[in-house]
Symmetry: C2
Subunit: 237 residues, 2 copies
């Protein structure tokens, strides 16, 4: 395992708590539209539910690869329409769409990443686009060495190209790169592409009723209780 | 001018002293090949002289866009052959080629960038590829928010696409992005694409006999004596 040189990270759910962050921004947005009756967490879940279908249009080839900020904006308009929210200005919509740029990391993340950064090259391997990932990192103090993933590779996980082209950009062999994720499916696809794998559970990503990804489902190369524990298990004091 | 949100930087020459860094690595490389007689600075200049011709093959469309690490490696082999240096192993060549990943910044850079980072989004807009730029940044402590430029845009400066697609990736208008460079030609191309411009002189980039880019040749939006001075002039205490 000592050949691993780079750790690359799933971000939504693994690094940041998207549900709480997006719900917080809906809660701030709704009163101006007279809809403080709506549940901001339910709206966050509805928005996120359109995430995979939006990317699937690109993965399938039915649509040219398109940045996540654009897909997010399209799905936001659907969510608002479905809930009868009308009259938002272009500026309102753009600000709300950028809620994803303003997500907060889980409490262990900054310390864990800072320790891992001493020994490994750290990159994102997210389906988020470069501006989204970089704005989030600047605000939250995430010490990435590079923003990689969907936009530089023009592929959406779990397409194998998303993993393989990320290793190629790093000029590393796949086995020199380890994906860190809270999602077993993402790790399965990364392992299939030849990457190393590390799992960290995020049992409240989907709220209290979360039923999936509560633990490691396969014998991943590393499993950490959180990022600080994973750092220790990967040799970063 | 207050609309500028992101500063993007030329790197070779503007941020790092490539000539001294590459010469230092040639000086360490030559003795094992019995060629300590050769001038390492002259070899650095010879290598750099093949930089523009290599990229021109890609700009012209005669060759598909190719990473700078690959172009550097091809030109290194030409320089070694032209100087009768033979017998270097694959590992030797790879290590020497990565001299560009190990360049040191000019003395004012880290302090200047750290100050600018408080107010602006900071990115690279270099012809260097992502791994090259990110490895350099990690080693030297350069606080980039994102590695942009040639590889994400698949264009080599001064092609307009290199500037315009960088602004597009940032989701900013060209006039919200300012190129910082020690090269008047790079700034001319950036201004033509609609970016703002900032000049910092690097009068020893090419050694003692440097004749070009000794000062600002056009009325650039900002001119700093160095990065610390530029930070102050751009409102970053």
């Amino acid at each position: 395992m000592s050949q691993v040189k780079a750790l690359v990270f799933d971000v939504f759910g693994t690094v940041v708590d998207w549900r709480t962050g997006v719900a917080r921004e809906f809660a701030a947005f709704l009163p101006a539209f007279g809809r403080a009756d709506l549940d901001p967490f339910a709206l966050a879940d509805s928005w996120r539910a359109l995430y995979q279908p939006g990317m699937e249009e690109c993965r399938s080839g039915r649509r040219e690869w398109t940045r996540l900020d654009v897909l997010h904006r399209e799905s936001l308009e659907k969510v608002l329409a479905a809930n009868g929210i009308t009259g938002a200005s272009e500026g309102d919509l753009d600000h709300l769409n950028r809620a994803w740029h303003r997500l907060d990391p889980w409490p262990d993340v900054v310390l864990g990443l800072t320790r891992m950064s001493r020994k490994y090259f750290l990159g994102t391997l997210s389906n988020g686009n470069i501006a989204l990932m970089a704005n989030m990192a600047k605000r939250a103090g995430l010490p990435w060495d590079a923003i990689l993933g969907a936009e530089p590779t023009r592929a959406y996980k779990p397409q194998p190209e998303a993993y393989l082209r990320t290793a190629e950009i790093l000029a590393m062999r796949p086995e020199e790169v380890c994906l860190v994720a809270a999602h077993n499916g993402d790790l399965r696809a990364a392992r299939k592409a030849g990457l190393r794998t590390a799992f960290v559970p995020r049992p409240s990503e989907h709220g209290e009723g979360q039923t999936k990804d509560l633990g490691a489902e396969d014998p991943w190369d590393w499993v950490g209780a959180d990022f600080v524990d994973l750092a220790a298990k990967m040799g970063c004091a």
